[in-house]
Symmetry: C2
Subunit: 327 residues, 2 copies
């Protein structure tokens, strides 16, 4: 992995960890590269751009840290599988949103059209399960397919709720759970050898809460921008009809936000609404909520004393990195 | 299952089989219904229409017949998983083709737009692996994910080759193998308890060859029509830029077909090309090729004597049904 391309919080985790973690992250990266290069030139060009855009590899890191240094090849495969599902969902998300950019690079749908993007997503998705098929167990397949079902249901819920300004904060959070938190949770659980117990409960809470924090902060970022940092324009969610917590809360404070018509919005209009949402002060409130979830996540690991202190500290660093990235 | 909705060849198999087969097909149907109803109203409406459109349940039947009467719940789950992958691929195919109708009913993309259709396909796909996760083994996951990878690669190949009149018959067949034959093969193997041996080899050949025959005949049908029978307009492949064997062969016989511009084709133009393809006599040639593959499939089962005669006969009936449906 090219360290210079890795965001600072992740670098902090890698530097704090013994050599085993960077070596395994590199092994995941290598597997992803090989898988994508192994399906012919055209795919390599399409999926390769999604892969190279990199991202934080947060989910593989969660798999590897939760599994610990004693885990072998199976944890690397599980980490690869989770990242493939995540990549597949990004490729399909971009089809749904007709997004031109992801992390500042052209999306597969922008490069190659929605026909190819749907198929590339399907391929990445299938490859994820193929990773588990080689030597995984049925429980791993159950966990990953459960998280994938949740992802698709979250997508459907987002579509159903699109342009509806009346959706509640609870409904929004339920959607975040489906769309984001379940895969984080799955990453923390998939390489555990035991099916239940204190450690499982602790990791489950940890994964869920940092997943929710991640999504909350992502939604703040869509309002707060700036584009140089997020790699996409401000207010893309609004243009897409996706109503997120900042808008839900801001509408309770600013009457002028009560009567919006998201369907007739253009890019400049979306920017203007972002300004008005920010002016209500809700962004800091949502950020605080995310921070509280990260604290809850860390406390779950402490309370249960389910992990040895070294690994617990690394997981805490990952959790803090999620907040830091947005601060 | 509503028998009256089932095509005649499949009815023939069900009638020839002892009570165990219809009972298990009904169990698969019931599982599919429950799965789809269990994900909320919106999904039930979308995926329900795909499910109700029914189809032949050929793949589940292959799973159940290959597994035999002694197989239990696991075969029913495997059969359900295969059909879910098939349904997912249909839903995504229809997004790619922007198809208005499938089996005479509106497609998910036509009912609910491509946003929802992509997510519904993802959901069905995830549910397929969830079926195996519950009590399946790693080999089943390997087989199904391998077939799903092939499906996506076939889709990508079709997209890459679109509008290219110069593609060879070999290249076309390779695409059919990926897009269609691998899932048939998978259906025949997924509920086998042993990983290798004469029976596995025989079933593998059987599945592959009837899968290829199925695709060849499907492509003939797109040219031969009529719409009342196929539930979609003639020449949809042409309009989509998909060059299939009838056109590849017809171009060698009719010089006027050498210089086509598929990109500028309208529905009437596509109909006219279908007429010209049919006039060359290649449709019968392609049908003959499909019949030869069905014979090859049947011979594979006989030669190896891998299955008891009763089940072999039922599989032969399925194979013949594939040809009959189009004769």
């Amino acid at each position: 992995m090219n360290r210079s391309a890795v965001p600072p919080p992740v670098t902090a985790v890698l530097e704090a960890a013994d050599a085993w973690l960077p070596a395994r992250i590199e092994a995941v990266e290598e597997r992803l590269r090989r898988l994508i290069e192994g399906h012919g030139e055209v795919l390599a060009a399409d999926a390769g751009s999604t892969l190279e855009a990199g991202g934080k590899r947060l989910r593989p890191m969660l798999v590897l840290l939760s599994a610990g240094p004693a885990a072998g090849e199976a944890a690397i495969r599980a980490a690869t599988a989770i990242e493939l599902v995540h990549m597949a969902s990004l490729v399909h998300d971009d089809v749904l949103d007709a997004a031109p950019l992801r992390r500042g690079r052209p999306t597969v749908v922008a490069r190659s059209g929605r026909h190819r993007a749907v198929a590339v997503g399907d391929l990445l998705f299938s490859r994820a399960f193929a990773e588990l098929g080689a030597d995984g167990d049925a429980r791993q397949v159950e966990l990953l397919s459960g998280a994938s079902v949740a992802l698709a249901l979250g997508e459907l819920a987002q579509r159903r709720d699109a342009f509806d300004l009346g959706i509640s904060a609870d409904r929004y959070l339920r959607r975040c759970e489906l769309k984001t938190a379940r895969l984080f949770e799955c990453a923390c659980l998939i390489a555990q050898s035991e099916p239940a117990g204190a450690r499982i409960e602790a990791l489950k809470t940890f994964g869920r809460e940092i997943g929710l924090a991640f999504q909350l902060l992502d939604d703040v970022l869509d309002v707060a921008g700036p584009q140089e940092r997020t790699g996409k324009a401000r207010g893309t969610d609004l243009l897409d009809g996706t109503v997120t917590l900042p808008l839900i809360l801001a509408r309770q404070r600013d009457d002028s936000l009560a009567e919006l018509d998201l369907r007739s919005l253009d890019a400049a209009g979306a920017e203007a609404i972002c300004e008005r949402i920010a002016a209500t002060g809700v962004l800091e409130e949502v950020r605080d909520g995310a921070r509280r979830r990260v604290e809850l996540a860390k406390r779950a690991l402490e309370l249960r004393r389910a992990l040895e202190p070294g690994r617990r500290q690394l997981l805490e660093l990952v959790a803090e990195g999620i907040v830091e990235r947005y601060s």
